[in-house]
Each structure stands twice: as structure tokens, then as C-alpha cells.
């Protein structure tokens, strides 16, 4: 599909993305020797360590007898490594929802036997095999300098208007995901194109301001911090939130007309070596304790319906109501993985992105 060089670049970029904690990809929480024979548990995830650590430590405090190995990988590495060795890992966590869903759909996941699952929202689980346990909105981040040009946009419609009216001023100062090179960018493009036909106008407008197409949220955040970009479009909220909180120049906006939501999906592989302890971990992920840790110590967003307050889906829903669009755990996710569908969508995307450019060239010729 992709030339190896591009894939390498993608891997490198994904590795750079967690600038927050790229230094350490592996976390080990050894078993408490007093608690009897060590019970190994191997977790592979596409979830950065600073976000994962509080969760893992809380779990380990509750089950000190478990010898926990946590490996943070990119979504692509994670997927390919699992397909190569489906029996080495006990819990698989990834934000690449279509891929996770495809694995479960093909029967790679083991049905969970947890009474907590009954109380878990139906839209956040599939067949008792696949569980969504985070709630991460996709956001816009703007630099304060934008205020000199125009009023900051609150939603997609205002962004479209802004891009169209200030094409010259914003040229080269808007950043977004490149759907061709980034899996996440492709997934968002796919979702948005389904949500509204006006998305294509937005793509054309992005093309009109010659938006910089990058591969990671991290790259966008770096550019925004440096002031190279004034607007970042479609950043992963959970990564942007701590950076924005630390940078007074930046502001995070969750669009109020519609906001995509990304979720981490976790499952226990059918051939997991330690399915019982894996079940304990899954149970912890959806437990009150685990979810409270998510809400209070990470920016991942807790789903548990009983939890309220900052960092929870309940609070976001109260604020944004129906504008939040979690993708829904269902086979429509599979459509995103279809080879022809991807080619068609990317072809359209590129065509729309170059539309205003082509219009300008035609105007120039005339």
C-alpha cells in the first residue's frame, strides 16, 4: 500500500507523537513478593505512559500479586505485532478503532465474563468482547494571535467562514492531519465526510489557505506553541489538553456543532496466556475506581455513567449535548478499512483539497 519509506516516516512520527513520554516505551510493575507466586500480565497499548501510568499503578495497588508488563507501541506496530504473535499478549489497547474492531470481528477477542459489563453503556461495548473505556473529543487549538485577524471560531461553520474570508492572512498558518499519511487523519476524514456534505467545502477551504498537512497531534502542537500555526484543526483532545493547559498562548476549542470523539478500545485476545488476570484488568478499566483514576489523573475522559465532573463524558455531554459524535462500535467501522473505500475517499479528499488551487489557476489563465 505505502512505500516502506513512508511507513518508516509514519512510524517515526507516531513515535515522536508522545513527546510527553517517548523516552520510555516499557513499564514494569513487578509483583509484590509477599503475595505468593507471581502472576504475569502483558499489556500492549497505543497509549502513552504518562496517561497510562496512573491507571496501571492503581490497578497494581489493588492486585499487587500481578507482575505487570506494559508496552507502549504505535497503533500500526501494535496491530502487526499482534497478528504475528497472537498468543504473547493478555490485553490489547488501541485508539485505532477500525483495526481493533476488525480483530474482534474476526474472532480474535475473548468474551468477557464480568458483571460490571452489564452496567456498562451499550454504545461502549460490542458483543461483550470489545470495550471502549475512554472518551477523547477531537478539538481545534488556536493561537491567541488569531484574535488580531478575526474572532476565534467556535464551530465548523465559523471555521469555514473564517478560512474563506481570510484566505490570504491565514495562508500557511493552519495545520491539520494528512489523511494520506496518518491513520487517525484518515479516520476523522471518513467520519466527517459521513456526518456532513459540507465537510468537502471545509477541505476545499483548508486547501485554499494552503494548510500544512502533518501526521501527528504532536507536530501540530509544536507548531502552535512556536507560533508558526494559528489554527490547528482536528487534534486529539486528550493529548492537546495538558499542553494547552501549560501554554498560555494556546486555547482549546471543542466545536459546538459537532465534535468527533475518539475512544480507546480494549480486548483480551482469545489466545491470551493469562486470561483470568487479563479479565481482572478489563474489569478494573470499567470499574468505578479505574474510571475515577482516568477522570482525575489523566486527560483521557471517563465514560462511567455514575461519574460526573471534569474529565468525564457526562460533563462533556452536559456541555455539548448532541454535538458529541462517538463513532459507535459497529461494523460500519469496517468500512473505513476497505481498500477501495480508502482509495476513493483519499482521491476525493485530494481533489477537494486542490479545488480552490485549481480554481485560482483557472482564474489566472482566464
Amino acid at each position: 500500500m505505502k512505500p516502506p519509506l513512508a511507513r518508516l516516516a509514519l512510524l517515526g512520527a507516531l513515535c515522536l507523537l508522545p513527546t510527553l513520554a517517548c523516552a520510555e516505551q516499557l513499564l514494569r510493575l513487578p509483583a509484590d513478593t509477599d503475595a505468593g507466586a507471581a502472576r504475569p500480565l502483558v499489556i500492549h497499548a497505543a497509549l502513552d505512559l504518562p496517561q497510562a501510568r496512573p491507571l496501571l499503578e492503581a490497578f497494581h495497588r489493588r492486585h499487587p500479586g500481578i507482575d505487570l508488563t506494559y508496552r507502549n507501541l504505535t497503533t500500526l506496530e501494535l496491530h502487526e505485532r499482534f497478528l504475528a504473535h497472537p498468543d504473547e499478549v493478555d490485553v490489547l489497547i488501541s485508539s485505532a478503532m477500525p483495526w481493533q474492531f476488525a480483530l474482534a470481528n474476526e474472532g480474535h477477542a475473548r468474551p468477557l465474563d464480568s458483571p460490571r459489563l452489564e452496567a456498562w453503556p451499550a454504545w461502549a461495548r460490542w458483543r461483550d468482547e470489545l470495550v471502549a473505556f475512554t472518551f477523547e473529543p477531537i478539538v481545534m487549538v488556536i493561537h491567541r494571535e488569531l484574535a488580531a485577524i478575526a474572532k476565534p471560531p467556535r464551530n465548523h461553520a465559523e471555521l469555514l467562514a473564517l478560512l474563506n474570508t481570510h484566505r490570504q492572512a491565514l495562508a500557511g498558518r493552519v495545520a491539520s492531519y494528512d489523511p494520506v499519511r496518518s491513520g487517525a487523519g484518515y479516520a476523522y476524514a471518513m467520519e466527517e465526510s459521513r456526518l456532513s456534505p459540507r465537510y468537502w467545502d471545509l477541505v476545499a477551504a483548508l486547501g485554499g489557505v494552503e494548510a500544512e498537512l502533518v501526521e501527528t497531534t504532536g507536530a501540530m502542537l509544536d507548531g502552535l506553541k512556536e507560533g508558526r500555526f494559528l489554527i490547528g484543526y482536528n487534534l486529539l483532545g486528550s493529548y492537546a489538553a495538558p499542553i494547552v493547559a501549560a501554554a498560555p498562548d494556546l486555547e482549546m476549542i471543542i466545536p459546538d456543532d459537532y465534535a468527533l470523539v475518539s475512544q480507546r478500545l480494549a480486548f483480551v485476545p482469545r489466545r491470551a496466556p493469562n486470561p483470568e488476570d487479563a479479565g481482572l484488568f478489563m474489569d478494573f478499566l470499567i470499574s468505578m475506581e479505574g474510571q475515577r483514576t482516568l477522570a482525575e489523573e489523566t486527560s483521557l475522559g471517563a465514560i462511567h455513567p455514575a461519574l460526573t465532573g471534569p474529565g468525564t463524558a457526562t460533563e462533556l455531554r452536559e456541555r455539548l449535548g448532541d454535538a458529541l459524535r462517538p463513532p459507535g462500535l459497529g461494523p460500519s467501522l469496517l468500512a473505513g478499512l476497505d481498500r477501495l473505500k480508502r482509495q476513493a475517499l483519499l482521491a476525493r479528499w485530494q481533489r477537494e483539497f486542490r479545488r480552490s488551487l485549481a480554481d485560482a489557476e483557472r482564474d489566472a489563465l482566464d
Binding site: N105, G107, W126, G330, P331, S332, L334, D338, L340, K341
Partner: protein, 457 residues
Amino acid sequence: MNPAGSLYGRLLAWLTLPLLTLGALLLLQAWLEARATADRAYDRLLDAATLAIAEQVQWQDERLWLDLPPAALEMLAGDAQERVFYSLVDQQGRHITGNARLPAHPGENASSGDTLLYRDIEWRGMALRQGIRRTRLEDWRSGERFEVRVAHTREGRNALRLELLRSNLAGILAMGALAVATLLLAVRAALKPLTRLRHAIRARDPRTLTSLDLDLPRELAELREALNELLARMRRVRANQERFIGDASHQLRTPLAGISARAELALRRQEPEEWRAALETVHSTSERTARLAMQLLSLTRLDNPEYRPELHPLDLNHCVRQAVRDHWVACHQASIDLGADCLAAPLRVAASEWQLQEALANLIDNSRRYGARRITLGVLSAPPRLFVEDDGPGIPAERRLLVLRPFHRGRDDGEGSGLGLAIVDGIARNHGARLSLGESGSGHGLRVELRFPEALT
């Protein structure tokens, strides 16, 4: 309870057996029907999903192109969150796109329009239902044929099938319960007259032999009639017995009264000669009475239907010779000519020797009492017969049956007991032989013949 041992059990077993068979067949049918219905319902989803996909297939850049509609996959997933697989295959069988390389279906193409095929498949350890649509592009540039294959797991179908089966099962069970209840009531009602009959019989005074008068269904009415016939026979037997007892007591009373009178008369006298004469009379009368009592005893014994004498092979010639030997002296003293007419060869029949001797003794005694001067005993073969012939007065033909009844005498002279021929008749019956009375060869006198059923070789 052994079902074969009770009418209730038997009826129940034979009625329940077809009921159970029917129930099992109904269940089987309900199962197959539920499966077919569930498949029909869910195959429509396969139909719709393949159509939704097929409509998005286009001819682009000189090849098949599909803009996969996500809704088609959602349709396949349904409420049961089925696993979903799809693939698009061109007319050469090449996989164009899809999340699984689903197998081809061997089915033939329909004669016109789209071909729709469904089947159950086992794929990578999963039980799937596969739906296939074979169609062609409706494009002015190309009419390329292609095939859309979809498959999903069977959870929804199985759930629907169970639900259908459960509702059917409830109906079948209710029907079964009703049938069993009706059956129990019906069998009970059908057997009720039997209980009534039993109660009627049990409630009867054991001494009454009057016929049963009870309104019963036809089958039991036959039983009632048979029972009434038996009761009638028993009534006759009892009447006979009562007459016999009356006769017997009468017979015994007469000589005893004679003895008593004679003794009383003698006691008034003083002469020893008178006493002696009286004692002789008493002696002879009491001897006769003793004989009578003995005869009564043997007659009751012979008449007892429970009594089965042991029969042994016996030569009739030997029997006749023995009788002549036993009675010759007595007859000779009374100047009676007692003779035997035996066969040269032995003739064996199954018989009880003492009974035959008793019969012959009775017949000889009878002939002597009625004044015969000559008595001939004899044996004839084929069929084996034993006869006694005399030259006495004989019995008129019209009275020959009557004399076989106890206490019936040819004459009223106070000598015989009237039991002799009845005893002979009883012995004949015990041997399965026929007793016949006739005229002797000389024209007068009696010939009594015992005809045995067959000779032993």
C-alpha cells in the same frame, strides 16, 4: 405397577404411546419450522445487504470499483451484534475487496436477473450464514459480471429460532397436558362400570345366588350374563345338594327309626329268644345302614368336582376276573350263576382299579336285589367296553335316565338304597366313560355298559 397387569395401565400405555410419538413429531416439526422461519427472516437481511453493496459497484478506471456503504454492514450486524464479513469478487473469481475471502457457492445461476444463494458455512471455526448475489454492472461502458458475498454469525437466527420454538413448545405442551388429562378422565370413565360391577359383587350376601341385575355397557353385560349363567348353575347344584341331603337324611332316618322301634319292642319282652331275634334284626338293619352311609360317602366323593382320581393302565379282563372271584362265593350261596366273558388279549384302559371294582360290585349287587338268577360280566373291544348283564326284570326304557339319580329306585321294596346306579354313573364320569342302560341279549333283563373313550396300547 406392571402395566400389562392392569386394564387401566394397558389402556393408558397404548393411548400414551401414539400420543408421545405424535408429540415428538410435532416437536421435530416445530424445530425445523422455527429454523426455516428464522432463516427466512434473516436471509432478507443478507438479500438487502448484498443489494446495497451491489448498487455501489461501478466501473471505474477499467476495473470494478466499490464505494462500500457502511449501512450495509450495520444491517448485517443487527441487534445481535453479529460478526460481519463481505467480499466483492469479479467474474474470474478474483477478490476485489472485502474483509474476508469468503468461499464461492457451487449453486447455479438463476435463469434471469440476479442470482441469490444462501447457505450455512463453517469458516475459521465460526458457524456463519452466507449470502451471495451474482449480478452484472448496469453501465453503458461495461456489463461485467460480479459477485457480492456476505456472511454473518448465527446468533440472531438462533435467538429467534429459540423464541419461536419456545412459543410453539408452550402450545404443544398445553395440548399435550390437555390430551393427557382427557385421556386419564376417559380411561377412568370407561372403567367405571367395571368398578360398579365389582362393588355390586362384593356387596352381595355370599349365600344369595340370585342373578345380578345391573345396567352395564355391552362388553360388561356379556360378563354379567356369563356370571348369571354360572349363578343359575350354582342354584341348580345347590338345589340338587339340598334334595340329596334331604333324601340322605330321610334314608338314614328310616332304618334308624326301625332299629329304635325294634329295640323298644324287644325291651318290653322278657324272653331271650325275642331279644335275640330283635338283635338280629337290629344287626342286619344297622349293617344295611352302614352300607348306605358308605355309599353316600363314596357318592359325595365321586360327585366332588375337585376330586380327580389317579388313573393307571388297567387290563379290563383282569378287572372282570377279580370281580367274579370276589363275588362268586356269595352268589353261589344264593344260587346265582355268576359268569365272566373275557377277551383273549388284554385290553388296557386308563382307570382306577378300586373304582371299577366298586362299580362292578354295585352292579352285581343291584342285579341280585332285583332277583336275577344269572349275571354275566364281560369285556368288549373297539371301543373298549365293560358290561354287566342279568336276566332280572330290567328297566323300562323311559325310566332308564331317572334311575341314575340318587335315591331313585326301580321298586319300592325297602331293600336297595337307590344309590348303586348313581355311584356307577359317577365312576363312569370320572373315567370319561359313558354309562348306558339297555336290554340284555335274551330279550328281558338289564344290560349295563360302560364305554371307555379309548384303549391304551
